[in-house]
């Protein structure tokens, strides 16, 4: 099942690697990734789409712990299907 995460993150050099590393390690597959710096270029807007059979909270709770993640919002799975 696909899940879409809307993320606001500090625009630091390794932040995307950190997101992807946690996603892979916790057992989810990357199904889509979009990112763009915000106007002040200090933050990034990231849309991360992942698929996996495990409950998604197992991933979001780990991503939340990343120091560079400011906000993380789970968009419903249906939406994910629509946008896929």
């Amino acid at each position: 099942m696909n899940h879409v995460l809307n993320i606001t993150a500090n625009n630091t050099p390794a932040v995307v690697e950190r997101l992807l590393q946690v996603t892979r390690y916790r057992g989810y597959e990357l199904a889509g990734l979009q990112l763009a710096p915000r106007a002040d270029s200090r933050s990034l807007n990231i849309t991360l789409t992942v698929s996996g059979d495990k409950p998604i909270h197992l991933l979001t709770s780990q991503l939340h712990k990343l120091y560079d993640i400011q906000q993380l919002e789970l968009v419903s799975a249906e939406l994910a299907v629509l946008s896929a």
């Binding site: 390794a14 690697e17 709770s61 939340h64 120091y67």
Partner: protein
């Protein structure tokens, strides 16, 4: 001043007086600044050892441990220890030198992508890009290392940043605002109701309790709500020695009483623990009748492996009093007391050879109060957990989550420097000891009176035990019968030692070791056939423990 000097200034502002490390090209400016600094640097002989010493320092003292290494091989040598700190939630700040930014990304000499390597083994990591951000980054590193669930933080500092000039006025004292832990007591009433309704409650205590500074609150909780308790490897020593309802360690090599009681309980109150697979055995069959209250500071641990009927997040010190309800479970307490009686340890061992469990019990009884015991990994580690008693988890340093051989000796160096007034003992195995044996040179240089007990079975015993039980006695690469002469080895580092092989030598040898004022190595030869019991075989439920008789 230079960035390198600023690093030491900031360390001092954080109260750091002791650091462990090893120099090299890319960190030479910091070592140059160290030359006139009052920060005391302890030269390890392998960066893995230095970082383990920082971990030992942190775990024995509750402060942040600090270690340093150069770029490339120096930094890669830190990785295992950072992983160890990550899995055991130890606050460590590691500082690495990096090649100058002008050549970064060109496969320069001793250049390796340390930031990239750090991702899986640190709580967070930084690469400092200008001297202007150096101070703030170091402050953040300390804040992150010790806040919430503690962990290791790496700060990679390119050489040009170390050499850059900056106008820096050190503040008289760094005003560290104590960050209060956001705590939610929303589920406290639910937890109290569960506790009040439970007929067979059980406290399952992990390392999170003492790391939260909640030892007094734990004793109070257990006094106000009399119930049996068990601890994880990391929490040994959390329950006061006079608490009669304490049942020992649970899990793969836990006590039978602890495992049986946990399997039977109807409420499991998990305090700062994380249902590790070495604790639960077969997860589906773990504590099958129990509802769960889970208290932790890390939201990601809630419902990670076991559903919590009530979860409370935040500061253990506030939560424990808030979930206090009155238990009424005399029958259950009596039942658990019987289990404990039925499954007590036996030390009657035939023959004159040394029986490690008994030897460790003697060591435990003989060591001065508040001694710190640093373990390595293997059978001897489990025997220490089973047969020694500790008055605080800070007195029992054992590599839990990562199970890293080579931990014991360097951790003991850190512990001794953190608590010079306390006796520090390493209990190591003949395999593990050789993994960081070079740290004997550190002990020699600083004349650190660390007591070293090597439990020598001439085997990689724990692996051998599994080969015997689960791999048809095919002893692949676990024979160490050509071990070096450990007493002679110690002598090469000016450390006196003694070798014993018989039970009746133990008392005298321990006496001699403790009486000797300096470092000392006691080489204890045991039978290679001795195994650790009980054992929950892989895939089995915790009530299906193998014992010596059954094996």
């Amino acid at each position: 001043m230079k960035g390198a000097e600023l690093v030491l200034q900031v360390l001092q502002q954080h109260g750091v007086e002791t650091i462990f490390g090893y120099p090299g090209g890319a960190i030479m400016p910091i070592y140059d600044a160290l030359y006139q600094s009052t920060v005391k640097h302890y030269l390890c002989r392998h960066e893995q050892g230095g970082a383990f010493s920082a971990i030992g320092f942190a775990r024995a003292s509750g402060k942040v441990g600090v270690c340093m290494a150069t770029s490339g091989p120096g930094a890669t040598n830190l990785i295992t220890s950072l992983a160890d700190a990550m899995l055991d939630s130890v606050p460590v700040v590691a500082i690495t030198g990096q090649v100058p930014q002008a050549v970064m990304g060109s496969d320069a000499f001793q250049e390796i992508d340390v930031l990239g390597l750090s991702l899986a083994v640190t709580k967070h990591s930084f690469m400092v890009r200008s001297v202007e951000e150096l101070e703030a980054t170091l402050n953040q590193a300390f804040a992150i290392a010790k806040s919430g669930r503690p962990g290791p933080v790496l700060v990679d500092i390119p050489k040009d940043v170390q050499l850059a000039e900056i106008d820096y006025q050190p503040l008289a004292s760094h005003t560290q605002k104590a960050v209060s832990v956001p705590t939610s007591l929303a589920n406290a009433a639910k937890a109290r109701a569960l506790i009040a309704a439970a007929k067979k409650p059980m406290a399952y205590i992990g390392g999170g309790v003492h790391m939260a500074g909640a030892m007094p609150q734990l004793q109070q909780f257990l006094a106000d709500n009399p119930m049996p308790s068990v601890t994880t490897l990391k929490a040994m020593g959390s329950v006061a020695k006079d608490n009669t309802h304490y049942m020992g360690m649970l899990g793969m090599h836990g006590t039978q009483a602890a495992n049986l009681a946990v399997q039977q309980c109807d409420l499991l109150i998990c305090l700062g623990a994380r249902f590790d697979d070495r604790v639960t055995g077969n997860l589906q069959k773990f504590a099958p009748h129990a509802k769960v209250i889970h208290v932790d500071i890390d939201p990601a641990e809630i419902n990670k492996v076991r559903f919590a009927d009530a979860a409370l997040l935040g500061d253990m010190k506030q939560i424990l009093p808030a979930i206090s309800a009155s238990t009424n479970c005399d029958e259950w307490l009596a039942h658990c007391a019987t289990l404990k009686q039925q499954h007590g340890w036996r030390y009657d061992h035939p023959g004159e050879r040394i029986y490690a469990p008994l030897m460790l019990k003697q060591l435990s009884e003989r060591m001065p109060d508040n001694s710190v015991v640093c373990c390595d990994v293997g059978q001897h580690q489990m025997w220490v957990a089973q047969h020694m008693r500790f008055s605080s988890p800070r007195n029992h340093l054992s590599s839990g989550g990562l199970g890293t051989m080579g931990f014991g000796l360097p951790a003991a160096i850190g512990a001794k420097l953190a608590r010079p007034q306390d006796t520090v003992i390493t209990v190591s195995g003949d395999g593990s000891f050789m993994m960081n044996v070079q740290e004997l040179a550190t002990i020699k240089r600083f004349r650190l009176p660390v007591k070293i007990v090597i439990v020598d079975n001439q085997r990689l015993g724990m692996v051998k035990q599994w080969q015997q039980l689960f791999f048809n006695e095919r002893y692949s690469e676990t024979d160490l019968s050509d071990n070096p002469d450990f007493v002679a080895l110690a002598a090469a580092f000016a450390i006196p030692g003694h070798c014993i092989t018989r039970k009746d030598e133990v008392e005298g040898a321990l006496e001699a070791m403790f009486t000797w004022p300096g470092p000392y190595l006691l080489h204890v030869c045991i039978d290679d056939k001795d195994n650790v019991w009980p054992l929950v075989p892989p895939g089995a439920a915790n009530e299906d423990m193998m014992t010596e008789a059954k094996a």
